[in-house]
Symmetry: D3
Subunit: 136 residues, 6 copies
């Protein structure tokens, strides 16, 4: 029996969409108001999903208390109330689109979650825009 | 890296469930109050999901501003504040169940979205009933 | 101790915005696409709120099972899967705007709810538009 | 054309996380406050998803009215306003984690839903914790 | 300038509706399945609202970090993962209806919140049932 | 008959909590991580509520299409994808707490909405924190 368990978390951050290899003018053409050099921000809603077999003694795929702690230590402490472009090392060069943020979160958590468990990251940038990454 | 990006949209429409090859009596037996000949209606919530590789320069699978425009031009302008049975050509003969509406939306958007991107349509007919179509 | 108890309910209906004393042209100017003569529709979310003292023996302002039955009998059975303009007598002449629907619901429930209880109706026409009526 | 249709339902229940082969002390260490011997409880939100081909005459994968009745008869009547550990036979020995509840619901509905239809169960234990089971 | 600031919180608990002055038979007649002697439970969603003038130096009615701490210390620690009837002293004799729980929460927080601030408690017992108490 | 009509809108912005009359150290003590000098951000959800009598010819308190346009022109165009501290003149000196943002929005819309209509602003800074201002 393989079950997927999912845990929601939340962080607030500032960002701008910006490719540092481009001129500001080209950034403005491609990213529009999302490239505002003074930044804007979001309430990011994060769903971390872990799939694996149900342990016969606990009835758990993974202890959700442990998953919550791991999300807090790896992601919330690093991203919450931060400026993603300025303060989060992964985005010094990488454009913090929802796609790239989801990939960065997946890469960080993949190192911490038992290798026999499949990992999926869903990230809502706004209530109307969200992305999903499974590591493929 | 393959990421799925999703965009929510919304339209309001009237419809009735009706198979024009059947008698009204049989429609009433099969579809119950959903076959009311005077129509009823819904706030349809639409989620369009597009899966593909993340472009290394933009960090986008696809520009969400373009996806939003495409959804508005192809779906919202055609369906919003309309009577699906009476005014939307695709449903002149086809019963506008949530299943069929999702397939029609998929077919319309499939023509517009780059062929290397996978497309999934999720459609909420009510907060408690929804359908998903991936083109399989 | 005065507490307000609230119960949510749901109905789907077709309608058009239409003043029968006006020409179709004027209806179209004032109500835009909402005046489509072929109708459109909504998932209406209804919140019925009743305020009064907490009964010392039951701990209830009012038995929510009774309130649910009353909403079903008076409102859901009358409005759900109906065309409001064509099939609901209250709207034969009255324009079924969210405002007017809320007032009609208030008037219908006011007759059934004990007179010592204050009544408020909140009606969501879409997730972004809603109205509230307290009988003032 | 294969479409997935989903229906949401709701039940309220008490439970505790408890492995009857362990001492109370070990249960407390592993399950923390979830093992409170006096029980706690949840509003469980259930999503039943059924995937299959769209019937050309009805436009349905499956009549949602039938699916709703089946969920009520098999799941809601058995679980709603119950103590899962004490009153639901499947959990006399089995720990009622979200994972195990989802598997039990899947097993019960699998017997009732036509075998050509794929079945997925999603169960929200809280707004922040949920699980998914597809029968794999 | 008087502004109302609101903070949401969450607790899970078991309860039964029960008047200890009545026979079990009468409890069953009045409270139905909510009187199940083995308990059932809910995810309670709590909204604490505080109204007062905006401090000119901070721009706060009240520091939300302090309000969050107060809600955790007074309410969540006392109610979360508890059996309200068995383990929360206020309900040893008082029936834990949503109405009474809201009044108890109001009384506990009223002692802690500055007296110049008005206090309102909103409590969702389920997504469809909720109550509001302002201390009147 | 007085009815309240409400319209939801949405904007994304960066901000920091900061009193420019204080030292950075004092800002950090009072506002904690919300005073991060590099900014953070939110998806602000705005509800504009207008109360007045229902016009007998239209069935409207106010045309919601007009209200939507007014919110877009006065608020969304001014605040969306902006840095509130740096780019919105009202917050050059005023700390952009949720309380102060709600008051600023109320003041801006009060000038545009007919004086016989009462105005209330509700602003969600996060899904768990929100404020309400009625002009008192």
């Amino acid at each position: 029996m393989n079950v997927t368990v999912s845990r929601k978390a939340h962080f607030n951050a500032a960002h701008k969409l910006y490719n540092s290899d481009w001129t500001d003018a080209r950034n403005a053409v491609v990213f529009g108001k999302c490239s505002n050099p003074n930044f804007h921000g979001h309430n990011y809603e994060l769903i971390v999903s872990v799939k694996g077999s149900v342990h016969p003694e606990t009835g758990f795929v993974m202890d959700m208390k442990e998953l919550k702690k791991m999300i807090n230590a790896e992601i919330i402490d690093a991203f919450d109330h931060k400026n993603l472009n300025e303060e989060v090392p992964e985005f010094k060069k990488l454009n913090p689109t929802a796609e790239n943020i989801a990939v960065v979160i997946w890469n960080k958590l993949r190192l911490k979650i038992a290798i026999n468990l499949a990992l999926t990251i869903t990230l809502y940038e706004t209530p109307r825009n969200f992305v999903t990454y499974t590591g493929e």
